[in-house]
Protein backbone atom coordinates (compact mmCIF):
# COMPACT_ATOMS: atom_id res chain seq x y z
CA UNK A 1 0.00 0.00 0.00
CA UNK A 2 2.87 2.37 0.81
CA UNK A 3 4.38 1.69 -2.60
CA UNK A 4 1.06 2.44 -4.29
CA UNK A 5 0.68 5.74 -2.45
CA UNK A 6 4.30 6.66 -3.12
CA UNK A 7 3.84 6.16 -6.85
CA UNK A 8 0.50 7.96 -6.77
CA UNK A 9 2.10 10.97 -5.04
CA UNK A 10 4.97 10.93 -7.51
CA UNK A 11 2.57 10.91 -10.47
CA UNK A 12 0.54 13.71 -8.93
CA UNK A 13 3.63 15.88 -8.40
CA UNK A 14 4.78 15.10 -11.89
CA UNK A 15 1.36 16.11 -13.23
CA UNK A 16 1.48 19.39 -11.29
CA UNK A 17 4.90 20.07 -12.82
CA UNK A 18 3.52 19.76 -16.36
CA UNK A 19 3.60 22.66 -18.78
CA UNK A 20 0.78 25.20 -18.23
CA UNK A 21 -0.54 24.48 -21.71
CA UNK A 22 -1.60 21.03 -20.56
CA UNK A 23 -3.88 22.44 -17.87
CA UNK A 24 -5.43 24.82 -20.38
CA UNK A 25 -6.07 21.86 -22.71
CA UNK A 26 -7.70 19.82 -19.97
CA UNK A 27 -9.77 22.82 -18.92
CA UNK A 28 -10.94 23.22 -22.49
CA UNK A 29 -11.88 19.53 -22.75
CA UNK A 30 -13.76 19.64 -19.45
CA UNK A 31 -15.71 22.72 -20.56
CA UNK A 32 -16.57 21.29 -23.98
CA UNK A 33 -17.76 17.98 -22.61
CA UNK A 34 -19.77 19.64 -19.87
CA UNK A 35 -21.67 21.45 -22.62
CA UNK A 36 -22.13 18.18 -24.49
CA UNK A 37 -23.59 16.53 -21.41
CA UNK A 38 -25.72 19.57 -20.54
CA UNK A 39 -27.29 19.80 -23.96
CA UNK A 40 -27.67 16.10 -24.41
CA UNK A 41 -31.28 15.29 -25.27
CA UNK A 42 -33.00 11.97 -25.03
CA UNK A 43 -31.33 10.77 -28.23
CA UNK A 44 -29.78 7.71 -26.70
CA UNK A 45 -26.27 8.93 -27.34
CA UNK A 46 -25.58 10.01 -23.78
CA UNK A 47 -23.78 6.84 -22.83
CA UNK A 48 -21.65 6.96 -25.96
CA UNK A 49 -20.51 10.47 -25.12
CA UNK A 50 -19.50 9.34 -21.64
CA UNK A 51 -17.45 6.48 -23.07
CA UNK A 52 -15.79 8.71 -25.63
CA UNK A 53 -15.01 11.17 -22.87
CA UNK A 54 -13.49 8.42 -20.72
CA UNK A 55 -11.31 7.42 -23.65
CA UNK A 56 -10.17 10.95 -24.43
CA UNK A 57 -9.28 11.80 -20.84
CA UNK A 58 -8.00 8.47 -19.71
CA UNK A 59 -5.83 7.66 -22.69
CA UNK A 60 -3.91 10.88 -22.09
CA UNK A 61 -3.20 9.97 -18.48
CA UNK A 62 -2.61 6.28 -19.17
CA UNK A 63 -0.14 7.07 -21.95
CA UNK A 64 1.70 9.49 -19.70
CA UNK A 65 2.02 7.19 -16.71
CA UNK A 66 2.59 3.90 -18.51
CA UNK A 67 4.58 4.92 -21.58
CA UNK A 68 6.50 8.13 -20.84
CA UNK A 69 8.68 6.56 -18.14
CA UNK A 70 9.85 3.85 -20.50
CA UNK A 71 11.15 6.52 -22.84
CA UNK A 72 13.27 8.26 -20.22
CA UNK A 73 14.55 5.18 -18.42
CA UNK A 74 12.72 6.28 -15.26
CA UNK A 75 10.85 3.00 -15.14
CA UNK A 76 14.13 1.07 -14.94
CA UNK A 77 15.17 3.21 -12.01
CA UNK A 78 11.80 2.73 -10.37
CA UNK A 79 11.91 -1.05 -10.85
CA UNK A 80 15.30 -1.17 -9.14
CA UNK A 81 14.45 1.25 -6.35
CA UNK A 82 12.80 -1.09 -3.88
CA UNK A 83 9.19 -0.48 -4.90
CA UNK A 84 7.27 -3.65 -5.73
CA UNK A 85 6.13 -4.09 -9.31
CA UNK A 86 2.54 -4.52 -8.18
CA UNK A 87 2.86 -1.30 -6.22
CA UNK A 88 4.11 0.53 -9.31
CA UNK A 89 1.22 -0.79 -11.40
CA UNK A 90 -1.37 -0.03 -8.73
CA UNK A 91 -0.02 3.47 -8.08
CA UNK A 92 0.02 4.42 -11.73
CA UNK A 93 -3.40 2.90 -12.41
CA UNK A 94 -4.87 4.61 -9.37
CA UNK A 95 -3.54 7.95 -10.54
CA UNK A 96 -4.85 7.58 -14.12
CA UNK A 97 -8.24 6.37 -12.87
CA UNK A 98 -8.55 9.02 -10.16
CA UNK A 99 -7.67 11.82 -12.57
CA UNK A 100 -10.24 10.55 -15.06
CA UNK A 101 -12.88 10.47 -12.34
CA UNK A 102 -11.89 13.92 -11.14
CA UNK A 103 -12.16 15.46 -14.60
CA UNK A 104 -15.36 13.50 -15.31
CA UNK A 105 -16.82 14.77 -12.04
CA UNK A 106 -15.80 18.30 -12.94
CA UNK A 107 -17.54 18.03 -16.31
CA UNK A 108 -20.62 16.60 -14.67
CA UNK A 109 -20.75 19.38 -12.06
CA UNK A 110 -20.27 22.00 -14.74
CA UNK A 111 -22.98 20.41 -16.89
CA UNK A 112 -25.43 20.73 -14.00
CA UNK A 113 -24.57 24.41 -13.81
CA UNK A 114 -25.29 24.75 -17.52
CA UNK A 115 -28.53 22.83 -17.01
CA UNK A 116 -29.64 25.27 -14.35
CA UNK A 117 -28.69 28.23 -16.51
CA UNK A 118 -30.22 26.89 -19.73
CA UNK A 119 -33.39 24.99 -18.84
CA UNK A 120 -34.91 25.63 -22.28
CA UNK A 121 -32.28 23.44 -23.92
CA UNK A 122 -33.54 20.50 -21.96
CA UNK A 123 -30.15 20.38 -20.42
CA UNK A 124 -29.52 17.56 -18.04
CA UNK A 125 -33.03 16.22 -18.40
CA UNK A 126 -31.85 12.79 -19.49
CA UNK A 127 -28.90 12.56 -17.19
CA UNK A 128 -29.40 9.44 -15.17
CA UNK A 129 -26.99 7.41 -13.14
CA UNK A 130 -25.98 5.20 -16.05
CA UNK A 131 -23.92 7.84 -17.86
CA UNK A 132 -21.51 8.60 -15.01
CA UNK A 133 -21.42 4.92 -14.01
CA UNK A 134 -20.51 3.96 -17.57
CA UNK A 135 -17.88 6.69 -17.58
CA UNK A 136 -16.29 5.38 -14.38
CA UNK A 137 -16.36 1.79 -15.62
CA UNK A 138 -14.96 2.80 -19.02
CA UNK A 139 -12.20 4.81 -17.34
CA UNK A 140 -11.29 1.80 -15.22
CA UNK A 141 -11.25 -0.51 -18.23
CA UNK A 142 -9.21 1.93 -20.31
CA UNK A 143 -6.72 2.40 -17.48
CA UNK A 144 -6.14 -1.30 -17.02
CA UNK A 145 -6.16 -2.13 -20.74
CA UNK A 146 -3.73 0.75 -21.25
CA UNK A 147 -1.46 -0.73 -18.58
CA UNK A 148 -1.50 -4.14 -20.22
CA UNK A 149 -1.33 -2.99 -23.82
CA UNK A 150 1.53 -0.58 -23.12
CA UNK A 151 3.64 -3.61 -22.19
CA UNK A 152 2.42 -5.75 -25.08
CA UNK A 153 2.93 -3.12 -27.78
CA UNK A 154 5.94 -0.90 -28.23
CA UNK A 155 3.94 1.87 -29.90
CA UNK A 156 1.58 4.03 -27.82
CA UNK A 157 -0.44 4.70 -30.97
CA UNK A 158 -1.33 1.03 -31.23
CA UNK A 159 -2.32 1.06 -27.56
CA UNK A 160 -4.63 3.99 -28.20
CA UNK A 161 -6.18 2.42 -31.29
CA UNK A 162 -6.83 -0.88 -29.54
CA UNK A 163 -8.43 0.99 -26.64
CA UNK A 164 -10.72 2.87 -29.03
CA UNK A 165 -11.65 -0.40 -30.71
CA UNK A 166 -12.41 -2.06 -27.37
CA UNK A 167 -14.59 0.78 -26.15
CA UNK A 168 -16.48 1.06 -29.42
CA UNK A 169 -17.01 -2.69 -29.50
CA UNK A 170 -18.57 -2.48 -26.05
CA UNK A 171 -20.84 0.41 -27.04
CA UNK A 172 -21.81 -1.33 -30.28
CA UNK A 173 -22.63 -4.55 -28.43
CA UNK A 174 -24.72 -2.76 -25.85
CA UNK A 175 -26.76 -0.97 -28.54
CA UNK A 176 -27.09 -3.93 -30.90
CA UNK A 177 -27.93 -6.44 -28.21
CA UNK A 178 -30.07 -3.96 -26.27
CA UNK A 179 -28.45 -4.68 -22.96
CA UNK A 180 -30.44 -3.92 -19.87
CA UNK A 181 -29.53 -0.72 -17.99
CA UNK A 182 -26.45 -1.29 -15.92
CA UNK A 183 -25.18 -4.14 -18.05
CA UNK A 184 -22.70 -1.98 -19.97
CA UNK A 185 -20.93 -0.58 -16.89
CA UNK A 186 -20.88 -4.06 -15.40
CA UNK A 187 -19.28 -5.54 -18.52
CA UNK A 188 -16.74 -2.72 -18.68
CA UNK A 189 -15.91 -3.23 -15.02
CA UNK A 190 -15.48 -6.95 -15.56
CA UNK A 191 -13.23 -6.36 -18.56
CA UNK A 192 -11.22 -3.90 -16.49
CA UNK A 193 -10.64 -6.59 -13.87
CA UNK A 194 -9.50 -9.04 -16.56
CA UNK A 195 -7.06 -6.43 -17.91
CA UNK A 196 -5.83 -5.79 -14.37
CA UNK A 197 -4.82 -9.43 -14.02
CA UNK A 198 -3.16 -9.37 -17.45
CA UNK A 199 -1.37 -6.12 -16.63
CA UNK A 200 -0.08 -7.51 -13.33
CA UNK A 201 1.37 -10.50 -15.16
CA UNK A 202 2.83 -8.30 -17.88
CA UNK A 203 4.50 -6.06 -15.29
CA UNK A 204 6.30 -9.10 -13.92
CA UNK A 205 7.82 -9.78 -17.35
CA UNK A 206 10.86 -8.26 -19.00
CA UNK A 207 8.89 -6.56 -21.77
CA UNK A 208 7.91 -3.91 -19.28
CA UNK A 209 11.19 -2.12 -20.10
CA UNK A 210 11.03 -2.58 -23.87
CA UNK A 211 11.87 0.57 -25.81
CA UNK A 212 8.99 2.74 -26.97
CA UNK A 213 8.55 3.11 -30.72
CA UNK A 214 7.01 6.39 -31.74
Amino acid sequence: MNSTLLIFRKEWKSFLGSDPGLFVTYGFIVAIYSLVFATNSASGLGTVWWIVYAMVINSAFANTVFVAERMTGALEVLLTSGVSRRGILAGKALFAFAMSLALGGLSLALSLVWAALMPRMGAGSTMGWEGPATFAAAAFMTTMSGAWLSVRFASPRVVHLVNIFLSMAMVGSSVALTWTPGALPAVLLGLGCVFWVLAARAFDGERVIQPVQL
Binding site: L6, K10, K13, L16, E69, G73, E76, G82, S84, D204
Partner: protein, 303 residues
Protein backbone atom coordinates in the same frame (compact mmCIF):
# COMPACT_ATOMS: atom_id res chain seq x y z
CA UNK B 1 34.31 -17.44 4.78
CA UNK B 2 32.36 -14.47 3.41
CA UNK B 3 30.01 -15.49 0.59
CA UNK B 4 30.55 -13.73 -2.74
CA UNK B 5 28.52 -10.58 -3.40
CA UNK B 6 27.83 -11.80 -6.90
CA UNK B 7 27.99 -15.23 -8.45
CA UNK B 8 27.32 -15.89 -12.10
CA UNK B 9 27.64 -19.39 -13.54
CA UNK B 10 27.25 -20.15 -17.21
CA UNK B 11 24.75 -17.37 -17.65
CA UNK B 12 22.99 -17.21 -21.00
CA UNK B 13 20.68 -14.61 -22.46
CA UNK B 14 19.03 -14.62 -25.85
CA UNK B 15 16.49 -12.29 -27.40
CA UNK B 16 14.42 -14.60 -29.56
CA UNK B 17 16.89 -16.63 -31.57
CA UNK B 18 19.67 -14.05 -31.15
CA UNK B 19 22.11 -14.97 -28.38
CA UNK B 20 23.69 -12.02 -26.59
CA UNK B 21 25.39 -13.76 -23.69
CA UNK B 22 26.42 -17.33 -24.32
CA UNK B 23 28.42 -18.39 -21.27
CA UNK B 24 29.21 -15.79 -18.65
CA UNK B 25 30.76 -16.85 -15.36
CA UNK B 26 31.95 -14.44 -12.73
CA UNK B 27 32.38 -14.25 -8.98
CA UNK B 28 32.90 -11.03 -7.04
CA UNK B 29 33.85 -10.89 -3.39
CA UNK B 30 32.17 -8.19 -1.27
CA UNK B 31 33.94 -4.88 -1.70
CA UNK B 32 35.26 -5.69 -5.17
CA UNK B 33 35.35 -2.92 -7.74
CA UNK B 34 34.79 -4.65 -11.04
CA UNK B 35 35.23 -2.97 -14.40
CA UNK B 36 33.24 -4.23 -17.36
CA UNK B 37 34.50 -3.31 -20.80
CA UNK B 38 33.63 -4.39 -24.31
CA UNK B 39 32.77 -3.11 -27.72
CA UNK B 40 29.40 -1.57 -28.53
CA UNK B 41 26.76 -4.28 -28.69
CA UNK B 42 28.87 -6.78 -26.76
CA UNK B 43 26.07 -7.22 -24.19
CA UNK B 44 27.32 -5.10 -21.28
CA UNK B 45 23.99 -3.40 -20.66
CA UNK B 46 22.20 -6.73 -21.03
CA UNK B 47 24.44 -8.24 -18.37
CA UNK B 48 23.85 -5.30 -16.04
CA UNK B 49 20.09 -5.55 -16.59
CA UNK B 50 20.23 -9.24 -15.71
CA UNK B 51 22.06 -8.37 -12.50
CA UNK B 52 19.44 -5.73 -11.71
CA UNK B 53 16.60 -8.20 -12.30
CA UNK B 54 15.21 -6.28 -15.25
CA UNK B 55 15.78 -9.19 -17.61
CA UNK B 56 15.22 -12.90 -17.09
CA UNK B 57 18.20 -15.17 -17.77
CA UNK B 58 17.75 -17.72 -20.56
CA UNK B 59 19.93 -20.16 -18.65
CA UNK B 60 22.60 -20.52 -16.01
CA UNK B 61 22.71 -19.27 -12.43
CA UNK B 62 22.82 -15.74 -11.12
CA UNK B 63 22.93 -14.75 -7.47
CA UNK B 64 23.51 -11.24 -6.16
CA UNK B 65 23.77 -10.46 -2.44
CA UNK B 66 22.16 -13.83 -1.79
CA UNK B 67 19.12 -13.03 -3.94
CA UNK B 68 17.96 -14.21 -7.32
CA UNK B 69 17.45 -10.89 -9.15
CA UNK B 70 14.61 -12.04 -11.39
CA UNK B 71 12.41 -12.72 -8.35
CA UNK B 72 11.98 -8.93 -8.02
CA UNK B 73 12.19 -8.81 -4.27
CA UNK B 74 12.06 -5.23 -2.99
CA UNK B 75 14.41 -6.38 -0.22
CA UNK B 76 16.99 -6.98 -2.95
CA UNK B 77 16.49 -3.88 -5.04
CA UNK B 78 16.69 -1.66 -1.95
CA UNK B 79 20.30 -2.80 -1.59
CA UNK B 80 21.18 -1.61 -5.08
CA UNK B 81 22.41 1.69 -6.43
CA UNK B 82 22.12 2.13 -10.16
CA UNK B 83 22.99 4.37 -13.03
CA UNK B 84 21.10 3.26 -16.11
CA UNK B 85 21.69 3.94 -19.78
CA UNK B 86 19.29 6.89 -19.81
CA UNK B 87 19.40 9.00 -16.69
CA UNK B 88 15.90 7.94 -15.63
CA UNK B 89 14.61 11.10 -13.99
CA UNK B 90 11.08 12.39 -13.73
CA UNK B 91 11.56 15.51 -15.79
CA UNK B 92 8.64 17.47 -14.35
CA UNK B 93 10.10 17.27 -10.85
CA UNK B 94 13.06 19.12 -9.37
CA UNK B 95 16.13 17.12 -8.43
CA UNK B 96 15.11 17.48 -4.76
CA UNK B 97 11.70 15.97 -5.43
CA UNK B 98 13.23 13.21 -7.55
CA UNK B 99 15.68 12.13 -4.90
CA UNK B 100 13.09 12.36 -2.11
CA UNK B 101 10.82 9.93 -3.99
CA UNK B 102 13.79 7.66 -4.61
CA UNK B 103 14.87 7.83 -0.96
CA UNK B 104 11.39 6.91 0.19
CA UNK B 105 11.29 3.99 -2.23
CA UNK B 106 14.65 2.80 -0.95
CA UNK B 107 13.63 3.20 2.67
CA UNK B 108 16.35 5.79 3.31
CA UNK B 109 15.25 7.95 6.26
CA UNK B 110 14.80 11.66 5.66
CA UNK B 111 17.58 12.47 8.13
CA UNK B 112 20.03 10.22 6.26
CA UNK B 113 19.04 11.83 2.96
CA UNK B 114 19.59 15.33 4.36
CA UNK B 115 22.93 14.30 5.85
CA UNK B 116 24.04 12.76 2.55
CA UNK B 117 23.07 15.82 0.55
CA UNK B 118 24.66 18.18 3.06
CA UNK B 119 27.89 16.23 3.33
CA UNK B 120 28.50 15.40 -0.30
CA UNK B 121 26.36 17.67 -2.42
CA UNK B 122 25.98 20.96 -0.57
CA UNK B 123 28.37 22.76 -2.90
CA UNK B 124 26.69 21.50 -6.04
CA UNK B 125 24.18 23.93 -7.47
CA UNK B 126 21.89 21.41 -9.16
CA UNK B 127 20.94 19.87 -5.83
CA UNK B 128 19.24 22.99 -4.56
CA UNK B 129 18.02 24.21 -7.92
CA UNK B 130 14.28 24.92 -8.13
CA UNK B 131 14.41 24.11 -11.85
CA UNK B 132 12.79 20.96 -13.16
CA UNK B 133 15.19 18.21 -14.16
CA UNK B 134 13.97 18.32 -17.76
CA UNK B 135 15.59 21.75 -18.04
CA UNK B 136 19.00 20.46 -16.93
CA UNK B 137 21.82 19.83 -19.38
CA UNK B 138 22.93 16.28 -20.10
CA UNK B 139 25.96 16.69 -17.85
CA UNK B 140 23.88 18.02 -14.99
CA UNK B 141 21.51 15.11 -15.29
CA UNK B 142 24.46 12.73 -15.27
CA UNK B 143 25.63 14.38 -12.07
CA UNK B 144 22.16 13.96 -10.57
CA UNK B 145 22.25 10.28 -11.55
CA UNK B 146 25.52 9.89 -9.62
CA UNK B 147 23.97 11.57 -6.58
CA UNK B 148 21.00 9.24 -6.73
CA UNK B 149 23.06 6.07 -7.20
CA UNK B 150 25.20 6.57 -4.10
CA UNK B 151 22.28 7.54 -1.87
CA UNK B 152 22.20 5.35 1.23
CA UNK B 153 25.56 3.74 0.31
CA UNK B 154 24.00 0.63 -1.22
CA UNK B 155 25.79 -2.69 -0.91
CA UNK B 156 25.91 -3.18 -4.66
CA UNK B 157 26.43 -0.36 -7.13
CA UNK B 158 25.76 -1.09 -10.79
CA UNK B 159 26.93 1.85 -12.87
CA UNK B 160 26.38 1.91 -16.63
CA UNK B 161 28.49 4.65 -18.26
CA UNK B 162 28.61 6.77 -15.10
CA UNK B 163 31.13 9.39 -16.25
CA UNK B 164 30.41 9.83 -19.92
CA UNK B 165 28.90 13.33 -19.62
CA UNK B 166 30.64 14.57 -16.47
CA UNK B 167 32.89 17.64 -16.52
CA UNK B 168 36.25 17.68 -14.75
CA UNK B 169 34.85 18.89 -11.45
CA UNK B 170 31.94 16.46 -11.51
CA UNK B 171 34.32 13.62 -12.36
CA UNK B 172 36.46 14.46 -9.33
CA UNK B 173 33.33 14.44 -7.22
CA UNK B 174 32.38 11.06 -8.65
CA UNK B 175 35.84 9.76 -7.68
CA UNK B 176 35.34 11.02 -4.13
CA UNK B 177 32.07 9.12 -3.89
CA UNK B 178 33.62 5.95 -5.29
CA UNK B 179 36.41 6.15 -2.69
CA UNK B 180 33.85 6.71 0.03
CA UNK B 181 31.77 3.74 -1.20
CA UNK B 182 34.90 1.61 -1.36
CA UNK B 183 35.80 2.49 2.21
CA UNK B 184 32.29 1.41 3.25
CA UNK B 185 32.73 -1.97 1.59
CA UNK B 186 30.33 -1.45 -1.32
CA UNK B 187 30.71 -3.83 -4.24
CA UNK B 188 30.77 -1.97 -7.52
CA UNK B 189 30.38 -2.87 -11.17
CA UNK B 190 31.38 -0.08 -13.52
CA UNK B 191 30.67 -0.47 -17.21
CA UNK B 192 32.25 2.26 -19.25
CA UNK B 193 33.84 3.05 -22.56
CA UNK B 194 35.78 5.75 -20.74
CA UNK B 195 38.52 3.64 -19.19
CA UNK B 196 39.79 6.23 -16.71
CA UNK B 197 37.52 5.33 -13.76
CA UNK B 198 38.06 1.63 -14.38
CA UNK B 199 41.82 2.08 -14.48
CA UNK B 200 41.77 4.20 -11.37
CA UNK B 201 39.51 2.15 -9.15
CA UNK B 202 38.79 -1.32 -10.39
CA UNK B 203 40.64 -4.21 -8.82
CA UNK B 204 39.47 -6.57 -11.49
CA UNK B 205 38.42 -5.97 -15.07
CA UNK B 206 36.39 -8.18 -17.36
CA UNK B 207 36.12 -7.93 -21.09
CA UNK B 208 32.83 -8.98 -22.59
CA UNK B 209 33.36 -10.47 -26.01
CA UNK B 210 31.48 -13.07 -28.02
CA UNK B 211 29.03 -13.50 -25.16
CA UNK B 212 31.69 -14.45 -22.61
CA UNK B 213 33.74 -12.59 -20.01
CA UNK B 214 37.50 -12.68 -20.22
CA UNK B 215 39.52 -11.47 -17.26
CA UNK B 216 41.55 -8.80 -19.00
CA UNK B 217 44.10 -8.40 -16.25
CA UNK B 218 44.73 -12.12 -16.04
CA UNK B 219 45.02 -12.30 -19.82
CA UNK B 220 47.73 -9.68 -19.72
CA UNK B 221 49.57 -11.50 -16.91
CA UNK B 222 49.90 -14.62 -18.96
CA UNK B 223 51.68 -12.90 -21.80
CA UNK B 224 54.11 -10.17 -20.85
CA UNK B 225 53.48 -9.25 -17.26
CA UNK B 226 51.28 -6.46 -16.01
CA UNK B 227 52.64 -2.90 -16.01
CA UNK B 228 52.33 -1.12 -12.66
CA UNK B 229 53.36 2.24 -11.27
CA UNK B 230 54.83 3.07 -7.89
CA UNK B 231 55.03 6.72 -6.92
CA UNK B 232 58.08 7.35 -4.76
CA UNK B 233 61.47 9.04 -4.70
CA UNK B 234 63.40 9.05 -7.94
CA UNK B 235 66.69 7.86 -6.42
CA UNK B 236 68.44 4.79 -7.74
CA UNK B 237 68.16 2.85 -4.50
CA UNK B 238 64.39 2.88 -4.79
CA UNK B 239 64.50 1.78 -8.43
CA UNK B 240 66.98 -0.97 -7.64
CA UNK B 241 64.77 -2.24 -4.85
CA UNK B 242 61.82 -2.49 -7.19
CA UNK B 243 63.96 -4.03 -9.91
CA UNK B 244 65.02 -6.86 -7.63
CA UNK B 245 61.41 -7.83 -7.08
CA UNK B 246 59.84 -7.09 -10.46
CA UNK B 247 60.49 -8.64 -13.85
CA UNK B 248 62.11 -6.82 -16.74
CA UNK B 249 63.29 -3.24 -16.71
CA UNK B 250 62.28 -0.53 -14.26
CA UNK B 251 61.96 3.02 -15.56
CA UNK B 252 61.32 6.33 -13.80
CA UNK B 253 58.81 8.47 -15.76
CA UNK B 254 56.93 11.56 -14.55
CA UNK B 255 57.56 10.88 -10.87
CA UNK B 256 56.56 7.22 -11.04
CA UNK B 257 58.49 3.98 -11.29
CA UNK B 258 57.10 1.83 -14.11
CA UNK B 259 57.68 -1.88 -14.04
CA UNK B 260 56.01 -5.18 -14.93
CA UNK B 261 55.01 -8.06 -12.69
CA UNK B 262 53.42 -11.44 -13.17
CA UNK B 263 50.40 -12.22 -10.99
CA UNK B 264 50.14 -8.74 -9.48
CA UNK B 265 47.62 -9.83 -6.85
CA UNK B 266 50.45 -11.68 -5.12
CA UNK B 267 53.48 -9.76 -6.34
CA UNK B 268 52.41 -6.20 -5.56
CA UNK B 269 51.80 -6.68 -1.80
CA UNK B 270 55.15 -8.52 -1.66
CA UNK B 271 56.94 -5.65 -3.40
CA UNK B 272 55.31 -3.01 -1.20
CA UNK B 273 56.15 -4.94 1.97
CA UNK B 274 59.76 -5.31 0.83
CA UNK B 275 60.06 -1.61 0.00
CA UNK B 276 58.57 -0.55 3.30
CA UNK B 277 60.88 -2.96 5.16
CA UNK B 278 63.83 -1.29 3.45
CA UNK B 279 62.57 2.10 4.56
CA UNK B 280 61.58 3.24 1.08
CA UNK B 281 58.62 5.66 1.25
CA UNK B 282 55.87 4.40 -1.06
CA UNK B 283 53.32 7.10 -1.77
CA UNK B 284 51.06 5.38 -4.27
CA UNK B 285 50.81 2.06 -6.08
CA UNK B 286 48.50 1.51 -9.02
CA UNK B 287 48.23 -0.29 -12.35
CA UNK B 288 49.73 1.64 -15.21
CA UNK B 289 46.77 3.35 -16.93
CA UNK B 290 48.21 2.39 -20.28
CA UNK B 291 48.08 -1.25 -19.31
CA UNK B 292 44.32 -1.61 -19.33
CA UNK B 293 43.97 0.10 -22.67
CA UNK B 294 46.60 -2.13 -24.23
CA UNK B 295 45.26 -5.24 -22.54
CA UNK B 296 41.74 -4.51 -23.80
CA UNK B 297 43.10 -3.91 -27.26
CA UNK B 298 45.08 -7.17 -27.17
CA UNK B 299 42.07 -9.12 -25.91
CA UNK B 300 39.85 -7.78 -28.64
CA UNK B 301 42.34 -8.76 -31.29
CA UNK B 302 42.57 -12.36 -30.11
CA UNK B 303 40.68 -14.80 -32.36
Amino acid sequence: MTPPALTIQHLRKSFGSRPVLSDVSLSLAPGTLFGLVGLNGAGKTTLLRLILGLLRPSGGDLSVLGHTPWQHEPAYTRRLGVIVENDGFWGNLTFGDNIRVYAEAKGVPRSALDEYLTTFWSGIQICTSPRKVKLFSRGQRAQCAVARAFLGWPEMLVLDEPVVALDVEAYEHFCTLVRQARSRGCTMIISSHVLEPIETFCTSVGLLKDGCITDVVAAADASAGEPWLIVGPGDDAFGTAIGELAIGSVTFIDGSWRFAVCQPAEAIPRIIAALVNRGCPVREVRPDPQSLRSAVRRSMQRP
